[in-house]
Amino acid sequence: MITLVQGLFLYFAAMIVACALVAITRHSAVNAVLAVLLMFFHVAGLYVLLNAEFLAAIQIIVYAGAILVFYLFVVMLLNIRTEELGRRAHPYWPALVLVVAGLAAVFVLLLSRSLFQGTPDQYSIALVQEAGNAQLVSQVLYRDYYLPFEVASVILLVAMIGAVLLARRQWAEE
């Protein structure tokens, strides 16, 4: 007999896999993006199941609300027609198969090593429920790991400045 939580997990997991498959097999780019949207929702559902409702909200805001809208925007602006894409195989398909096989191998290795078993440290479920998810995440990010966090911000800043610079150069040439 499976419990409610297990049942929900199975539902979310099955939907994530199904939506991902739909996304990579659609010929209409818009439908593919919408399938990814549905997948993001179920990933957020998994986060809620893990008592990580803060991450779930961020998942929706950042991925569904911002990044995917941009994808949709680009797809519509380019107005990719289904017919133009055609049904022929990608010319580099052997390389793609290799990449996928490599990723699968890494994944299996990780699972067999059970890297995620870890000992439950101070951040127990009880503590998360009491102090609130957002507060604990911020403590970990801004207190315990502030240096890696700052490094990540600098990298993002560099990317941002680079993007601005590229756009400006194009502007100047015109």
Partner: protein, 339 residues
Amino acid sequence: MEIIQQIALYVIQIAVMMGFVLFNAAYLTYAERRLVGRMQLRFGPNRVGPFGLLQPLADGIKLFFKEDITPAKADRGLFLFAPLLSLVTVLVAFAVLPFGKGLWIADLNIALLYLLALSSLTAYGIIVAGWASNSKYALLGGLRSTAQVISYEVAMGLSLVPVLMLSGSLSLVEIVEAQSGYWFLLVQPVAFFIFLVSAVAETNRAPFDLPEAESELVGGFHTEYSGMRFAFFFIAEYAAMLVVSSLAAILFMGGWHPLPVHIPGLSDWLGQVPSPLWFLAKVYLFLFLFIWVRATLPRLRYDQLMALGWKVFLPVSLANILLTGLGIVLWPYVLGWWG
């Protein structure tokens, strides 16, 4: 048995809330037409029932019996799905709004993020509608709307950060309780202004109603919609106005707290009035403001809209966050220095 009771309770809560929202959305259209009419020296609808009060009902019946048309080359599934998506993303927002002391359906500890997530999803209903209609006007309306919603979401989210810093919580109930001493409006006027303008832009209302600028885009994203499907977009827009007005009241005007500053005797005396009434009074004030703005201001041009969002609101709200942080850190020293 307990589970059945619990489910029955949920169903009743949802039914009451939906009734409240739909009633308000219907009569907001009436209030808007009457008020805008008055502001433009006309009468507005005054024929159906006393003072035209039955007008929303008549409109509803008319929309119900209109033919439901799907354009020939539309993406049928998405075309039917888009209005539902628009409406649902707005309606589920009401689950976390506290209407008065102890009067809410759910008190999420991430309620504010939940609302931001939902407001970011409203773009999908519009853009999917625009794309699925297979019409250039609808598509352009949808694309504009996406760009607009994304741009103003950033400013809106950042304008809410000072509120979080002052209250130390993402729960709307705790944010209201944090304002028992003074409203956040008094210390955060800049954030309040940015939030208000961004909220008008987020709900695609005039003067930011570019997605449905009728002089250039016909009806915008809902050009091809008719009957109840069209009505769904309409209800979603008015319900979204209700959500952002409630948010403005909750985050900046103390929710159900009657006075901007706590005055020991007077606040308690005024507190005897049921708390939802104070809250609703503020909400209706903001809704009036929405209608007033629509009747007063001309529509912005597209580049003006983008420039305002990215070049004015974004830097100002970032500076505001910095100043608020400085204020919170330095305030204890100021108090110590004072005496």
